[in-house]
């Protein structure tokens, strides 16, 4: 489940970003970053639940939204929005990884192909 942990850590970075990039005076950025971070944590957490094991894939949509917002909110994007673009692109890579990322896929864990 380590990719989900990485997503949660990225969400913490995102929530702290307005303060790191000295944009805490902009309430829109503080609120958007906090809410998106919360959403990412919820989706990554839901992936631990067997019925919600694919919830992390919804993070792909959240990441695309974050990138589009950051790219077009101000042109060229200031550092705080560049950070959003980097975080969004990074989440696109991490959210693709399955929950049991270091093990073979379930169907390959059976001893032969006919056993599935």
């Amino acid at each position: 489940m380590w990719p989900r942990i990485v997503e949660m850590m990225t969400a913490v970075w995102l929530a702290l970003s307005p303060f790191i990039f000295r944009a805490q005076s902009d309430p829109v950025i503080v609120w958007v970053d906090s809410l998106v971070a919360l959403l990412i944590v919820l989706l990554a957490g839901a992936s631990y639940w067997p019925r919600g094991r694919h919830a992390h894939l919804v993070i792909l949509l959240v990441a695309v939204g974050l990138i589009v917002w950051a790219r077009f909110a101000q042109s060229p994007p200031p550092p705080v929005h560049q950070n959003h673009i980097v975080v969004g692109l990074f989440l696109l890579m991490v959210a693709l990884l399955p929950n049991e990322a270091s093990d073979p896929p379930r169907q390959w864990r059976e001893t032969d192909a006919t056993a599935r």
Partner: protein, 208 residues
């Protein structure tokens, strides 16, 4: 993973005398990529104005002139993101995609190996182009940029064998089945008897 034979996962893949997807092959890539990501983050912080100077033991303020050069600013206006930040992203991607998958991911998750290759190999080419731009367009040198360019080339060299093996496996699937549907399924790591046979024929090749 109790019923998976770990020796089976770690089999050497001809023409190599090792398994290119083994942990001992991939972990050095991940560690080196994290080092490069840390260096790129330092350079990004300068481009973002969060720090006032860049560490450079050889070229004085050459690094700062490279990072604030017209070429760097032009790339920023086109991409919407500074080149060092893009480097951070790419190296973090190398590390994360390098960690994903089992020691047999060249067969079980070819999509992951190909994605990893797409992240590593073009990154190495871009790094070389940026170094050439330093020399011939900006006329200044940046020590840490050179270090990350060298790391990129090492990563390409280390990652290539795994990408090659995965492509060879997909090629064998295609040669045996001539089916786009099965090739697509093999790419996404589904399981079929034909895929086991293709992998076995790859594994049983003679090492020259």
């Amino acid at each position: 993973m109790s019923d998976v034979n770990r020796d089976e996962l770690n089999r050497n893949v001809p023409p190599y005398r090792h398994n290119p997807a083994a942990w001992n092959q991939r972990l050095p890539i991940c560690v080196l990529a994290f080092v490069a990501a840390a260096i790129s983050t330092h350079l990004s912080m300068f481009q973002w104005g969060l720090i006032d100077s860049v560490w450079d033991p050889f070229f004085g303020d050459g690094s700062e002139r490279v990072l604030k050069s017209g070429t760097a600013e032009k790339m920023y206006s086109i991409l919407g993101i500074h080149d060092a930040a893009l480097g951070t992203l790419a190296y973090l991607g190398d590390a994360i995609l390098g960690f994903g998958g089992s020691p047999r991911r060249w067969q079980y998750r070819p999509w992951l190996v190909i994605l990893f290759g797409i992240d590593v190999i073009p990154l190495g080419i871009v790094s070389v182009l940026l170094v050439l731009a330093q020399a011939f367009i900006v006329g200044e040198w940046c020590f840490l940029c050179l270090v990350t360019a060298v790391i990129s080339l090492i990563l390409v060299y280390w990652a290539w064998d795994e990408v090659r093996v995965s492509l060879a496996y997909l090629r064998l699937v295609w040669k045996r089945t001539s089916s786009r549907r099965l090739l697509w399924r093999a790419f996404w790591g589904y399981r079929e008897d034909a895929f086991d046979e293709a992998a076995e024929s790859l594994l049983s090749r003679e090492v020259r």
